[in-house]
């Protein structure tokens, strides 16, 4: 009875998250059908129009239709954020598992290496690497993903170090599991919860980093739409001219995306850690 209702509650959260995120993905996929206006059309006759039936989200400095740009920007932002975070996890997770379990010299060498990477502010590091690699969406993904790797290595490593002391890990060794089986079956599943939760947070962070890079001209090149860059464009207009719609709508898009991701993250964390289900 209690388990059933807990499960339903958990289901609802996942459902809501999936619907919201699915909506964003749908927007990205079907952008041309959703937005009637061209996101790149410059029209000085329609500068700074407030939201109206013609321009749902209003227009910006160059007469861009904000609605169309928010819709098209979903393509860039979702693809960049998700791919970058996936890259961070695929590289950082296994490294964290291995060095966390082995400990010793391998562990300290890896951690010192990460210290060096993290000694640079993430933004400066991204700017540096991106200018070396050159612009482009693919390089952007690599760079945003690379900057996120240390977070996942540290997270997974810390989790592994506490998990490996658990008595069920010793019990697992005592019935003859190999080191590989211990890492994969006894330790790795325990880290999934935190990794997924962090992934949702990191996605939001990746969108912000992408936006920041866009702002200084290293991200998605203008005039292609990108949420973060759109916020940056509108900040001045909002403060000085009271034209709130230029920043607020892309901001809402980011908020909805991140919120849906964290709903999904939380529910998956519960799914892979059965003991958590009961406790809520």
């Amino acid at each position: 009875m209690t388990a059933g209702s807990a499960l339903r509650k958990w289901d609802r959260r996942l459902l809501l998250g999936v619907i919201m995120f699915g909506m964003m993905v749908g927007v990205a996929l079907f952008a041309p059908w959703i937005a009637r206006n061209d996101p790149l059309a410059i029209d000085f006759g329609t500068q700074f129009l407030p939201p109206s039936a013609e321009h749902w989200f209003g227009t910006g400095k160059l007469g861009f239709d904000i609605f169309a740009r928010v819709v098209y920007a979903a393509r860039y932002d979702l693809v960049i954020a998700i791919s970058a975070v996936a890259f961070s996890i695929v590289v950082g997770g296994p490294v964290g598992l291995i060095v966390g379990y082995l400990g010793g010299r391998v562990d300290s060498l890896t951690m010192r290496g990460l210290d060096i990477i993290q000694a640079f502010p993430a933004f400066i590091l991204a700017v540096g690497v991106l200018s070396a690699l050159g612009e482009g969406v693919f390089n952007l993904i690599l760079v945003v993903g690379f900057v996120g790797v240390p977070t996942f290595v540290r997270l997974v490593r810390a989790e592994v170090r506490s998990l490996r002391e658990h008595s069920y890990v010793e019990a697992g060794r005592a019935v003859g599991n190999s080191r590989r089986q211990i890492i994969l079956r006894y330790i790795a599943p325990g880290t999934v919860g935190t990794v997924v939760t962090q992934a949702a947070i990191s996605c939001g962070w990746a969108i912000l980093l992408t936006a920041a890079l866009g702002f200084i001209g290293l991200g998605v090149p203008l005039p292609e739409p990108e949420w973060g860059a759109m916020i940056s464009e509108g900040v001045e207009e909002m403060v000085i001219g009271g034209r709130w719609w230029i920043s607020v709508f892309p901001g809402m898009a980011i908020a909805v995306t991140i919120f849906s991701l964290s709903l999904i993250g939380e529910s998956i964390a519960d799914l892979v850690e059965p003991t958590r289900r009961k406790s809520r």
Binding site: H166, S167, Y168, E170, A171, G172, R173, A174, V175, G176, N177, Q181, R185, Y186, P189, G190, V272, E273, P274, T275, K278
Partner: protein, 319 residues
Amino acid sequence: MTALLEVTGLQVEIGTLPILRGVDIKVRQGEILGVVGETGAGKSMTARAILDLLPTAATVSFQTCTFDGQNFVPPKARQQARGHRIGFVPQRPRGSLNPVFRVGTQLSDTLRRLRGMGRREAKQEALNLLRSVRITDPERVYRSFPHELSGGMCQRVCIAIALAGEPELLIADEPTTGLDVTIQAEMLKLLGDVITEHNAAGMLITHDLGVVADVCDRVAVMYAGRVVNLGTTAEIYQEALHPYANQLVSIATSLDSGGTPREIPGRVPNPADDLDACAFAPRCFRASPECFEQEPPPVAIAGQLAFCHHPLTTQAASR
């Protein structure tokens, strides 16, 4: 009866601290050996050393270690025996099952790995094993996550997992820790029965002497990293040679018959302490100067073995 597991001169140091100072232990085919002693005597360390489960900071050395005639000194040999030849029943059963997988998955995975069974066959055998540890609704337990089961149920599952590889020896490390007092005796009885039914031998580590009396054939009493007294359960209970074992038993039996709780004066030595020749001498009512200076000699009387200068014999002349 031949020896199944025979360990001599087992020493374990963690850093520079001596934890085990030459443990000799022998488990014979088909018998259940009880290993008793206060916390810190080195009981669990002994079990972990046999299975090579000690942390890397520990240095382990054996004089000899044989299992069914095979040399078990190389760590590799001991690792390979895990599950296959030596089953391990851990302390704190609830924490000893993988929380992420259903009980059935853990049990049948172990069967598939240790006995090379197919999926379906493993499930059948898993249910059989659950039945053999007296679980009345194996299907439900098979589908449960560990956190959905009681401590006693988890311990039954742990025993089933330990039996999965058809081991010749089952080592149970304080298997009742963390269980309700009401089911502790039942669990130990079960463990004893199951060991016999599976034609295995057992090594039961506990600090509960009452338990030992019911389940074990022989008893090894440990003190400060050594076995100080070894004998059949009856011998240890009726006339333990070593003063420590003797006091331990008399306290346990007087408690059982409703006596006031007593304790042996003094405290268990710390591994960091400088031990006297006989580690128990400072707490012993029979201690004499030689106990502090000379290693206690082995005394063997009627199958019982003790390391003591002044064993409690009725006919002291028989030394």
